[in-house]
């Protein structure tokens, strides 16, 4: 009897302690004059930048992000949250504070659909910062019905092919397109494209296949189940399939891509093909550090966003906010948190575009969001926009970066993703029509 009581009591106590520790682990902003001042060509500020704490009625914004063992996208909304806090410390939205609600999901469609309803039920007027393997697919009809124009970091195909979603990144398909373009620029005679076997894999490889065909280069699309248990064989397979003058394009999450690249390096295979390339997830200093100097300049990573160390005013503000507000970022400085930063900035710009004293409702706020046009930031190659259109791929120009002694450096400056991918061609047409 005593053993049983002891066991139950210990279990309960442990659970309570764990819960307390974890829920208490927030971030206390070391708020200083971060983000304050006057915006200029060389300085970016948070919102109004007047250093006054916002105390007015809250404007509620929501986000849904995947967080489970093996996949964690919460860096993006966490960074957005830090920016919103900075804005709230600098006058808010004409005095109103932004109240941000982050819902995490574990890739269960019913759960995701329910969370969307939860957010709407709690009164959010905008959805900013969604990053999920399948949320766009599950919820896009719901957002369309209710009139929410979502600003997200897209992964699922529907994030780029529906009317009420516009992403600050390019997503796996178009980022892989960019990686393929890099490999083609290195004059390869065959392209092997390998990615994780997840829903949407067929869609992701579609662009690479079309671009290769248009350039008359034979192409092969492969998939591998993740998590990879035998990276050595995978690396060998890719090298064998590509051949001496071929190019290998990878589309994996950074940890899985690292496994393949490290296995290739362990077997001295980095020089066995003409070019290696990787879609955006590889763009992190973490990866650069985990790869040795053998990869210096050898891996072309498609970078949807500028380097975190870039010198523009937005990038500087991004770094200052991280230092001051210390958001919980598993990946630290990198493209995830940069995406969150840009999404939040666009949302705030849209909110500030409404005249002071406006009512902040779903209709007014989302009208402001969809009217975002020509939003310039040094984090992206080209100005960002939304606009009413059947599909959105506003970020369709990017760089190629490459690891160099533990850091990522620019190898190819801003270039346009090829219109040989029909969706991109469509988007370019839309851009022309809307005068961007």
């Amino acid at each position: 009897m005593t053993f049983r009581r002891a066991l139950t009591a210990t279990a309960l106590a442990a659970a309570l302690v764990a819960a307390a520790v974890v829920t208490g682990a927030g971030s206390a902003p070391a708020a200083g004059p971060v983000g304050s001042g006057t915006a200029s060509a060389t300085k970016s500020v948070c919102g109004l930048g007047n250093g006054k704490k916002a105390t007015g009625s809250p404007i509620k914004i929501g986000a849904i992000a995947t967080k489970q063992a093996g996949t964690d996208f919460t860096d993006i909304p966490n960074m957005a949250n830090a920016y919103f806090k900075c804005v709230n410390a600098n006058g808010g939205i004409y005095g109103h504070k932004i109240q941000y609600s982050i819902q995490t999901e574990q890739t269960d469609p019913a759960q995701i659909a329910a969370l969307a309803k939860k957010l709407v039920g709690s009164g959010v007027v905008a959805i900013v910062g969604n990053t999920s393997l399948i949320e766009c697919s599950v919820d896009h009809k719901y957002w369309e019905k209710l009139g929410y124009y979502v600003i997200d970091s897209g992964i699922a195909p529907e994030c780029y092919s529906t009317s009420h979603s516009a992403a600050v990144n390019m997503g796996p398909r178009y980022s892989s397109d960019g990686a393929a373009q890099y490999v083609i620029s290195q004059k390869v005679d065959k392209i092997v494209f390998d990615q994780s076997n997840v829903p949407g894999a067929g869609y992701n490889s579609g662009g690479v296949e079309l671009i290769a065909k248009a350039n008359k280069i034979p192409e092969q699309s492969l998939t591998d189940d993740v998590p990879i248990q035998d990276a050595n064989s995978v690396a060998l397979k890719l090298v064998q399939a590509a051949g001496k003058n071929g190019g290998v394009v990878l589309n994996f999450t950074p940890d899985q891509a690292a496994l393949i690249l490290q296995a290739a390096q362990k077997q001295n295979l980095e020089n066995s093909v003409k070019a290696w390339a990787c879609s955006t997830p590889c763009n992190s200093d973490f990866l650069a550090q985990s790869l040795g100097s053998a990869w210096n300049g050898k891996l072309g990573v498609n970078a949807e966003l500028n380097l975190p160390s870039a010198s523009g005013p937005d990038s500087a503000l991004y770094r200052q906010i991280i230092a001051a507000y210390k958001p919980s970022l598993a990946f630290g400085l990198g493209s995830f948190s940069q995406m969150g930063f840009v999404e939040a900035r666009v949302a705030v710009a849209a909110l500030l575009s409404l005249p002071k004293g406006s009512k902040y409702t779903v209709k007014t706020v989302n009208t402001a969001i969809v009217n975002v046009k020509n939003y310039k930031t040094d984090v992206l190659c080209k100005p960002w926009y939304y606009g009413k259109a059947p599909l959105h791929i506003p970020n369709n120009t990017d760089r190629t970066v490459t690891p160099n002694n533990g850091k990522m450096v620019v190898k190819q400056n801003c270039f346009a993703i090829s219109a040989q991918d029909p969706a991109i061609a469509k988007v370019r047409l839309i851009e022309k029509k809307q005068g961007k």
């Binding site: 053993f3 049983r4 066991l7 139950t8 279990a11 442990a14 659970a15 764990a18 819960a19 974890v22 829920t23 967080k67 489970q68 063992a69 819902q103 995490t104 574990q106 890739t107 269960d108 469609p109 019913a110 759960q111 995701i112 659909a113 329910a114 969370l115 309803k117 939860k118 039920g121 393997l133 399948i134 697919s137 599950v138 896009h140 009809k141 195909p157 529907e158 092919s161 529906t162 076997n197 997840v198 829903p199 949407g200 894999a201 067929g202 869609y203 579609g206 998939t223 189940d225």
Partner: protein, 360 residues
Amino acid sequence: MNAGGAPSEARASLSLPERRPTAGTIVRGGVIAVLLAFVLAGLPPLLSVYWLDVLTAVAIYSVVALGLNLLVGRVGLVSLGQIAILALGAWVAARLDFATSLPFPIVLLATGVITAVLGVIVGLPALRVSGLYLALITLMLAGAITIVLNSTNFPNGGGGFLGHTESSFGSGGIRRPSIAVSDQAYYRYAVVLAALMFVLALLHVRSKPGRAWAAIRQSEPAALAAGVNVTLYKLWAFALAAFITGIAGGILGGSSGKLFVTQFTTQGSIILLAVVLMGGVFSLWGALAAGVLLQLLPALLNDWGAPPDLLTVIFGVGVLQVLVTAPEGLVVQVPRDLATLGRFLLRLGRRAASLLGGAQ
């Protein structure tokens, strides 16, 4: 039961004399009916759509847990592949839904039957193994099914046998029954269907199959010697568990409209076993408790801001606790603990009263 007699009469009779329902049973039935009525009619106006969606998931996964509850608690067969069966059921329902315009209930029924057949196919090799091996081989089969599903994906309106296409998006999802399109109505539909599945399970348990299963669970050789057709009843158990799991899969598809491989993992099968054990396998109510643990508890923790990983730890602790101290699970343990707490408080109250009385 006939004892002795000619060899032709040695076959155990599994039919018991009919008994009239006792007053206790009638009262219990009445209480359940009232609770069900409250859940169906009283809850929806009280809760937001979000919580109704969560309860719909509770209903669905209670049925899945019921399948495993029957297998483990009644027959003593531990299957670590029930989530894979759920995936198969969901796949079949989705394919039928897109390929035909049959009404939803017919699709569900067909799904149940087809999944039952698949369950029997899985059960056939399992006849020759038992105990730990059965658990492990079902784990292996589940792993294989998951990898195949990774590549075939779920039907989403495309053509061909697999019905999956990635060339068009924004397509319609799996449809709901015409009488239950709104979330509130779908919630009621799911609860009613779950109740029907529980009734189906109860009917089985209270009649011949239930007694055969009890005999098999007690001792397979003895049951065999007593003339119970062990093979038939084991397969029947697999078929029943797969039938109700398949129907749960059909309702699952309709709840979100879309299905993804990512929601049917091997870890899910392991956690399902954990919660079924925690809920209690000696009573069908344990399956309901398991459904609550699996879907309501995460939603509550999410609301309170706790990380989802905490849940995994809780389930791990729960499994150990159940195995070591209370094999009957929460369904028996909680009322018993509450009763103990009640008695403790009563004693405390009496002692306090006597102290006060004495002090005067």
